[in-house]
Structure formats: C-alpha cells, structure tokens
C-alpha cells in the first residue's frame, strides 16, 4: 500500500466573476496533505487560504485543476462525509442544546438514537463539555462554543478535519489552551488537519507543515516544514526551535529575511 493522501491538489485555481471582471482568488495550487498530517494555511487577507479550504470542503467548486480527497472528487468526499469542518464562528444552532448540536450530523445521516447518545457523550468528554451537554449555546463562553463546534466536526469520525480560523475570535489564553487541546485531539483521532489561520505562532505550534500563501493572485509561495516532533506542549512555546520556525515562517510571509537589531 502506498502512502495515502488526504488531500491532493494539482493546478487548482478559483476565479470569481464580478461586474468589474474576473477576480482570481487562487491560482496554480499544488499541495498534498498526507493522512494524519497537520497542515496550516497562512497568509494575509485575500491570499485565498479560506477559498482553498472551501474548495476542499466542496462548499465552492474549483474553476481549474484537480482536487482529490482520499482519491475521490471533492463532491463525493463531502457526500461520503470524509471530512469534518469547523468555522471561525462556531455556527451552533441556538435552539439546540450542546448535545443536540453535536448530534446534528449523526441525526442527518440517520444514526439510531441510542448509538447517537453514546457517541455524543464520548465527543462531549473528548472536548471536556460533559457537564454542559444540556446547556444552550447562549449559556456558553466563546471558547466553549468553539469546543462544541469541534466536537460536532468530529462526530462522523472523519479522517480529515478542515478548520477555518476556528480560534480567530477568541482571547489569547483560551486560544493557547484550545491549540493544546486540538493537537491532543488530532493525535487521538489520527485525522489529518487542514487549518487556516493568520497567526504565525499558532500555525507553527500546531503544524507539521506550514503553507505560506500570498495574495493577488492567491497562491502558495512557500511550504515550511516545522520538524518540531510529536509532542506539542507549553514547553515547546519557549524552545529555541519553535522561535526559529516562527522566524522562518515570518520571513517566508514577508518575502525577505527580517533583520533584527541584536543580530548584526
């Protein structure tokens, strides 16, 4: 058996037609994500990182190129529920409880009630919300809502997790905590993750590889391999290797080495 690819994009491009003419959101994307790999997409606004994620999720369709998810076309992978997705907004249904929100995908795919309840309980435990299963979203903090969204995205045990700035609206403390949780969950489930962010430290902390993108037109400019090993904990945030990688990604983003006063 050859190495399985979670995502394989070749020559992928996306053009949005507007009144003022076509806008090229994404062009010539070549990217493979292996099974179980954690890949971040980073870049300034308009670099097409969210667009790329939406193409992978089949929420939009690519204008050019080929996109395969586990060897299938994106639309087929969506119908087969090969991926789970979380957005910047938690996107919980306010009239459903935490449990009801986590259960939504299972309910839509016709899982029987007892099995569903069991799965929901497991997922709530995974994200540490067992005591909140009967609460409504408006009774939760932003970080807790986002954990519900992550639990929901994991409901169908996907081999691929797509995340569009899921921690973007959270405060720094919650953010770092959830980053730690996410690496743990990703390892426990063995899922590949494609993670869109605009935070360099976040991308480096989480990822095996950081895909650096740039705008006008949106494209991949560099891919930085982090090589920070399996364990991602708080000590990593203060290690020299971590800072080296942050610098590498920053330089890739700015397109030139950043010269600092104390490094002449």
């Amino acid at each position: 058996m050859t190495t399985e690819f979670a995502v394989r994009a070749s020559g992928v491009g996306k053009t949005f037609p507007t009144k003022a003419g076509d806008v090229v959101a994404l062009t010539e994307v070549e990217l493979t994500v292996s099974a179980g790999e954690f890949v971040s997409l980073i870049g300034p606004s308009g670099c097409g990182k969210s667009t790329l994620l939406r193409l992978i999720a089949d929420l939009d369709s690519a204008t050019t190129g080929e996109l395969e998810i586990f060897g299938k076309p994106a639309a087929k992978a969506r119908i087969d529920q090969d991926y789970g997705i979380a957005f910047q907004q938690a996107g919980l249904l306010p009239w459903r409880t935490v449990g009801g929100n986590i259960a939504l995908p299972l309910e839509l795919h016709g899982m029987a009630k007892p099995a569903r309840a069991k799965r929901v309980a497991d997922l709530a435990e995974l994200v540490g919300l067992t005591d909140f299963i009967d609460r409504y979203p408006d009774q939760l903090s932003g970080g807790m809502q986002q954990r519900v969204a992550i639990a929901r995205s994991l409901a169908e045990q996907p081999r691929l997790l797509l995340m569009d700035e899921p921690f973007g609206a959270l405060d720094e403390m919650t953010r770092e905590y959830l980053q730690g949780e996410l690496t743990r969950i990703a390892k426990e489930t063995g899922a590949a993750v494609v993670f869109v962010t605009h935070s360099i430290p976040e991308a480096v902390f989480l990822s095996d590889r950081v895909v650096v993108m740039s705008p006008r037109p949106g494209r991949i400019t560099e891919i930085v391999t982090t090589d920070l090993g399996e364990v991602r904990d708080e000590t990593l945030r203060e290690s020299p290797e971590y800072f080296t990688r942050v610098t590498a990604v920053r330089e890739a983003l700015h397109g030139a080495p950043v010269e600092r006063a104390n490094e002449r």
Binding site: R78, Q81, A90, P94, P137, Q145
Partner: protein
C-alpha cells in the same frame, strides 16, 4: 449576591403594578367626572354602569362575541395559511417573489375595510363570508411579510455547515430554515391576530347579517343605550386581548433562544 439579583424582583413587581395603578387612576377619574361631578355628556356612561350592563347582558354579549371571534379566527387562520404557502413559494422561487411583491404591496396599502361594502354585497346580506374575507385579507399581509423575511434569515455559516454535512434540501429546510423562520412567523401571527379582530369587527359596521359585536355597538350607540354599547366594546377588547395573549405566549415559548 450581586445587586442585580437583589433588584430584579423589585423591578418585576413595579413593572406589574405600574400599569394597574395607572388603570385604576383613570377609572377613578372617570367615575369622578361622570358620577360625582356629573360633568360628562350623556353618551359617556359611568364605568360602573358599563360593568353592570356587561354582567346583566353577558348572555347576548357572549353570543355576539363568539360570532365576531369566529370570523376573526377563521380569517386569521385562512389568511395565515395562504400567506405561509405564498411566502414559502416566494422564498424558493425568485420569479414568484417578483410576481407577488407588487401584489402584496398593493394589498398592504388598500384600506381593507373600504372593500367591505363591496364584499358584503357580493356575498349577500345573510353571509358572514364578506367579514371573514376582510379579516383574512387583513391578516395575510403581516404574516406574509414576516414569514418571507424569516425564511431568508438563515446565516451563511449554518448553510455551509449543512452543506458540509451532506444534508438534503428537505433536511436543511426542517433543521435550519423552518426553526429560523418560526419566531418571525409568530411575530407575524401576533400582529395579524389584533388586525384580524379589528377587521372582522369594523367590517360589521358595513352591512351583512345583524349579529356580531360591531353591529351591536352601532345599534346601541345609535339608540342611546350608551352603557350597553360600551359593554360590547369591552367584549370586543376581550376578544382581541385573548388572541393577542395566546399569540404572545406562543411567541415567547418559541423564541426563547436568541441566535449566538
């Protein structure tokens, strides 16, 4: 404990008592002007006389109340069902929306009550159908407008989520579109319920069978029995209030959860 939890029961109590006090004060002034000072015109009876009439003639008032209430309720029901169906069609198919928009706008600006003499003549003096259709048309507009708005309130993130979850369009409607629109539907129904009662009652002033609250008010006001006419007005208020209350409770039960 914080001061907010301490204050809450007091504020709740004041909120309940304030309108009661205002109401009692107004009735007090009314009694003072009519009964004590004897300074009111003959057409304005004392509240005590009105209550007496209401209790004494409750049998016939109740009968007429039921007629007007039935007209209003049937009108509300029919108007709402038509409004919901048309709003669903308009939300689903753009061309239908384009066709309906000017029609609804014109219905909204026509004083519906003005149509009553025509409708009454059309369906005959012994039929309630004219009144009923006036109530239905009046109820139609707020329900249609609100439901159509409600059906368009689904958020992009929720739509993306359901598409990503491979939901069918029926599932999306049941799980997302309908629950999103429900509070809007109930707002529409609450507004329509008052309008339907007013329309059904006022329609009685313009002919049709010789029954109903409106007919009775007109008859007794003209024949100088002011306190009985006012007792009927109280009956009309009771119908509107009852419907409004039911709708408000329904609305509250449904829209407890605000979007996050």
């Amino acid at each position: 404990m914080s001061s907010a939890t301490y204050d809450a029961p007091v504020r709740g109590w004041v909120r309940f008592a304030a309108p009661v006090v205002v109401g009692l004060l107004m009735i007090g002034v009314w009694i003072l002007v009519v009964d004590v000072l004897d300074a009111a015109p003959r057409a304005l009876p004392s509240p005590i006389a009105i209550v007496e009439e209401f209790i004494l003639r409750f049998g016939i008032i109740w009968e007429d109340m039921m007629i007007t209430a039935t007209n209003a309720l049937t009108g509300l029901l029919v108007g709402s069902i038509v409004a919901i169906v048309l709003a669903a069609l308009a939300a689903t198919f753009r061309p239908i929306d384009g066709m309906l928009a000017p029609l609804v706008a014109s219905i909204a600006v026509v004083p519906i009550v003005a149509l009553t003499p025509i409708l009454n003549t059309m369906f005959g003096a012994s039929s309630q159908f004219g009144r009923l259709s006036v109530a239905a048309i009046a109820a139609f507009v707020p329900v249609f407008v609100n439901v159509l708005r409600g059906l368009r309130q689904t958020r992009p993130v929720h739509r993306d989520l359901l598409r990503a979850s491979a939901a069918t369009s029926m599932q999306t409607f049941r799980v997302l579109t309908l629950p999103t629109a429900l509070p809007y539907l109930l707002t529409g129904l609450r507004i329509a319920s008052s309008i339907a009662v007013i329309a059904a009652l006022v329609a009685e002033y313009f002919g049709g069978p010789a029954d109903g609250i409106g007919t009775a008010i007109a008859t007794y006001a003209k024949s100088g029995r002011a306190s009985l006419a006012f007792a009927y007005v109280a009956g009309g208020i009771a119908i509107g209030l009852a419907l409004f209350l039911v709708m408000s409770l329904l609305e509250r039960a449904v829209s407890r959860r605000k979007p996050v």
